[in-house]
């Protein structure tokens, strides 16, 4: 799914000042998440289980994390990891 946000901006002068240039945005559908923890093996710096099944994740990894985030996304058995990658041309 190609993603690039060449959106026109109205009253907002910039898309989002907090968004690091070339960085990623990650969200996990925690309804779907079954705590298989494959993401925690694939990208241990960005996905951590707290307790038995509370997944904590980094919602804004840097571009340098692209490969490990992609590994985690693909490894998720329930495909719960959503990624926007402005720098790679895919999500």
């Amino acid at each position: 799914m190609p993603v690039s946000n060449h959106d026109r901006i109205g009253t907002s002068p910039s898309p989002d000042p907090s968004r690091a240039a070339g960085g990623l945005q990650v969200s996990v559908d925690l309804n779907l998440c079954q705590a298989y923890a494959q993401c925690c093996y694939a990208a241990p710096e960005h996905f951590v289980l707290h307790g038995a099944e509370a997944l904590h994740y980094d919602p804004a990894p840097s571009a340098a994390a692209r490969q490990s985030i992609e590994r985690a996304r693909v490894a998720c058995p329930v495909q719960a990891i959503l990624v926007e990658d402005a720098g790679s041309g895919r999500s």
């Binding site: 060449h6 026109r8 989002d16 307790g51 038995a52 804004a60 999500s91």
Partner: protein, 426 residues
């Protein structure tokens, strides 16, 4: 397919997923997204958890955008009115936008403390948006001597848990008999309360804050309870639920109140006479719709997955790519607090029976099934999410309740009383 101007009001999860779904369905017309906050759509669940704990920055939770939107954004502009005859909306600041199709996803806001002057005291917080979370995070990072949480719903519980994660003293006050009583019932609410008590939360049930007092400079210093007792605190979190952002619909002729805007089974909004306006649909927290799984009872759900699914459903409807079927997504939510993860499918409201279908509350890992009039209506897992899908199917198919004994890992099921507060107590 309609290729004219689609306006999405609400730069939220529902609004974003709606905009994405319209594009994905092939909508090539003009798309405008209006948001009251200056931020791009962001994810709320981390706000009451990792953001309060300090491991995630408040501004980091911007939602991934999964389709090219080619949208015009109007951020930082709250919508102020709707003219359905002229098909326009007005924004704060005076801009008027004409629409051909309108998706209403204006969401909800925290119910404020009822005394406006006290509500405005410094040190009194609510938690809903990312700016709220940033303010509360700063207050917690300053290590207040005691935090007072007013309200024992999910937000109140998650905030109390975050305070204990930070080793901050915290008191949680709830007028009801235990935490989460309105959602899970007293039986399971008490299980959650025991967790918080064991983690050092000072829990006060059947207790009511009457007033907040300030230090003379406008900063809260004390809460006074209905029974005359007082509690010294400079940091208060008011967690009394949400009210829907519908005031801007005044004069539009639509059927709405603080509980949401009414929709038909398809998702189109209804006017005061109950007629659908097929140019307008609503989604997410603000949409009150008849849920087919619950005999068409009107519900407005504050659930993440619902916002995403209904946003997409409503947008497809508006651009002429609806399925023709009523929106019937099974409600589902999760909460994590103090290391415990609670996940739920279905709606517990009106339950007349409860069984522990798998596991054991004593071990902390179990699955509870709620029934009403002999049918399964909801399932809730405590640190046992992998049992949940099987029971979600029973909820979705309205399977007989209680389930036959052979279907579970325990010899006989004990029928329990869920213990919802009576109507008089609400």
């Amino acid at each position: 397919m309609s290729q004219d101007h689609l306006v999405v009001v609400g730069a939220s999860l529902a609004g974003l997923r709606g905009a994405e779904a319209a594009r994905k369905a092939g909508f090539a017309g003009r798309l405008t997204i209006v948001g009251a906050e200056p931020h791009r759509p962001y994810d709320r669940p981390p706000l009451s958890k990792q953001v309060l704990g300090g491991s995630v920055a408040p501004g980091a939770t911007t939602l991934p955008i999964l389709e090219p939107l080619d949208a015009e954004w109007r951020l930082g502009s709250a919508v102020t009115s709707l003219d359905r005859i002229g098909r326009t909306i007005d924004l704060e600041g005076g801009e008027r936008i004409a629409y051909d199709r309108l998706l209403i996803a204006t969401g909800a806001r925290p119910r404020p403390w009822p005394d406006a002057a006290q509500n405005d005291l410094a040190g009194i917080h609510t938690l809903r948006g990312r700016d709220d979370a940033a303010a509360l995070r700063s207050a917690l990072a300053a290590r207040p001597e005691r935090v007072l949480v007013v309200g024992g719903g999910f937000i109140g519980c998650e905030v109390a848990a975050a305070c204990r994660d930070l080793d901050l003293p915290v008191t949680l006050v709830e007028t009801g008999p235990t935490v989460l009583a309105a959602i899970l019932g007293v039986h399971l609410g008490s299980v959650v309360a025991a967790l918080h008590e064991a983690r050092g939360v000072d829990l006060r049930f059947g207790s009511e804050v009457e007033a907040f007092e300030d230090d003379g400079t406008g900063h809260v210093v004390r809460a006074r309870f209905a029974d005359g007792r007082t509690l010294e605190t400079g940091c208060v979190v008011v967690a009394l639920g949400a009210i829907r952002n519908t005031e801007w619909l005044a004069g539009s002729g639509l059927a709405f109140d603080e509980g949401g805007v009414d929709c038909d089974a398809d998702g189109y909004v209804l006017d005061a006479e109950g007629r659908p306006d097929r140019a307008i649909a609503a989604a997410g927290d603000v949409a009150r719709f008849p849920h087919p799984l619950y005999d068409g009872r009107f519900v407005a759900l504050e659930h993440w997955g619902h916002a995403a699914a209904q946003g997409a459903h409503a947008a497809r409807l508006l651009v002429g790519r609806g399925t023709g079927e009523a929106y019937a997504e099974v409600p589902a939510f999760w909460s994590s607090q103090g290391g415990l993860t609670i996940k739920s499918v279905g709606l517990t409201e009106g339950a007349d029976g409860l069984v522990i279908a798998q596991g054991d509350p004593k071990t902390g890992r179990f699955l509870a099934l709620y029934g009403r009039a002999g049918r399964c209506i909801a399932a809730v897992s405590f640190d046992s999410v992998r049992w949940l899908p099987a029971y979600a199917e029973m909820v979705a198919s309205r399977a007989p309740f209680p389930p036959p004994g052979g279907a579970v890992d325990q010899g006989g099921l004990t029928m329990l009383t869920p213990g919802f507060p009576g109507e008089d107590d609400r």
